[in-house]
Amino acid sequence: MAALLELRQVSKSFGGLRCIQELDLHVGEGEVVSVIGPNGAGKTTLFNLVTGVYAPDSGDIVFAGDSLLGLEPHEITARGIARTFQTLRLFLNMTVKENVMAAAHSHTRAGILRSVLRTPGMRREEREIEKLAEERLSFFGQRLMGYRWDQPAYSLSYANRRRLEIARATATNAKLLLLDEPAAGMNPVETHEIAELIGRLRDDGGYTILVIEHDMHVVEGISDRVVALDHGVKIAEGTFDQVATDPRVVEAYLGTKAAATK
């Protein structure tokens, strides 16, 4: 399987804190890879490195054959990587539909002059963006449809905001989705739904997915491969069963036997 995303010996420090240390990671096309690890393990920093929010101190990040180093975040998004946020970052005072439409920026072209003149090309593009947004929102069934299109994003419930973030990320026409704890703060029913959704994103949507998740049922259900991080170091990699039974992973989550019995 060709690697869509590949991290080679990537390191990142903040002052003396080494968040990511010589990390190697690859995500194949069409794969769902889960990143697990205790809080502070460097999972979100990994996402920030891939999306260009931070520049790595050393190492290389390669996406679809090209290095991403030195690119601005919006350029990386335009190449096909989109993400959601652990702490939701929606455009709260814009409508649900506008949130999704705004994310189509990188693959549309109409500038100010064409918008003012309302050229036929601009109007066609606008219709396409709107259709794209409606289609991406319909992915979530009725939940984000109908009257909700024109409601401000802040009026949505927490779970619907998470769904909207995913819809917004898909509207960038990305190939690779980085989902940062998509099931955080959801009830068991909603968590179940998210797990199903991630499966559909890959099977029906054709996305490659790198996901950070703490809920082990979700991780077990969706992952082709699991990568465990602790203190910025990859401590285990493999199928869910391999990683879940790896002594170093158990230690990272629960401590050593000696520490536990003390």
């Binding site: 601005e72 919006h74 946020f85 005072n93 705004a102 918008s115 009725q142 802040y154 960038t172 179940h192």
Partner: protein
Amino acid sequence: MTEPTDPNTPRVGVDEWVASHEGRRSRRSGLLGVVERELGRVPPAAFYLGFGVIAALVPVLTSNGYTIRVGFDTLLYMLLALGLNITVGYAGLLDLGYIAFYGFGAYGYAMLASPKFGLHWDTLAVIPIVIVATAILGLLVALPSRRLLGDYLAIVTLFFGQLFVTVYQNGEAMSALGFTRKYDVTGGPNGIPNIDNFNTLGFHVGSLQAYYYVALGVFLVVLLAVYLVDRSRTGRAWKSLREDPLAAELMGIPVNRLKLVAFACGAGIAGLAGTMFAALNTAVFAADFDTPTLIIVYAMLILGGAGSIGGVILGAVVVNVSLEVLRTPSHATWVFYVLIAATLVAKMRPWRWLAAVVAGTAAFGFAAHAIVSAAWPRGVHGQAVVGGVLGSGLRHWVVLPANPLTIGNVAFVLLILAVLGVTLLHGWVQRLALIPTLYLAAFVWENRLAVEPSVTRLILVGVILIVLMNARPQGLLGTSRVEIV
């Protein structure tokens, strides 16, 4: 896959709340509800067109030069607020140097169409040059500050605004870093006089009416452009970077470039407004483009509701027309009493308390007037500023001493203390205390404030702004924004 018909398993995407939405919406009943629904159906463009028609009728209905002049100034302010709305309302960049672009545009027109340098270029050539030059200046200001946010951006742009005033006020002897001899570029404190009127292709814009229509036409064209951009890809990108710059960047929006574009667009519109200002006034002075003008434009934008085009129109009308109306003491007196009455009607519940307070204040006044006229006849010899029914009523109600200066000053201080005191009280004690406070307010108004309109109008406009912003923090036509949920 779970069986969708099994009621115990979750069904993906099924949402009863959405399905039952229509049944849950509460609607206002009766005539108000009908009006509200019908108004909601009218597209915003129709409102703007209606505004254009009404504004176009002003010079037809009145030949009063003063009124048309106020209308022209209001249109200029609207244009300025519209430009500021792009930078502040859409892109969320707090630009405190905005008024310098207005001045730059005005000086730009003055330099290219006046005896200053002997240039008398065609207006249709000058205006595009000025707009482009101002937009480039906006770009240059934004370039070093594009990574700054919020307060930091505000400080840098405020510095730029002050720099503009200082340079243009002292620009009568400028040299290039001391290498060349000194040239008079801006006319210094004397400004640039004798600026040409708009003049193009044989057409000559000379009368006030003509300028009014030019300003209205330009405003409507810019309004249409801004309206279209607001609903386009660029407009959505601006709003998303206002909401969350990091998320916008990560959704593929080149945030830094769009900030520059927003700055340049706002600046270009301000430059355009500047050319009209210079052409009508036929002289420009740097002091016209200082912080007070900036504050007025911001007051209009915020009062109307930042981010709303209709709000820009309404805000500019309310602020500028209030400022003008309050110049005349008798008009200001009407505004004063109507405001107090409106506030009481809006805030005082239940109705019987409203009636009691109004009746109590009236009775209190007549009693006070009777006592004072018996004990101290000179205390009712003054003149009310307003004539007519209101004036003759007030003469028998408010105590008007012949020489009100000292007693008026004392009463003013007492009024402030009384108002502060009333806010601390509760229940019926507060209502009771309101009666003498209202009377004191009327006394201070008649004896001290109404006779000095130049000071009073600013105080009153400030009070109007405070009251309106308390009632509607999002602005008159703005939508309330949620920052943290």
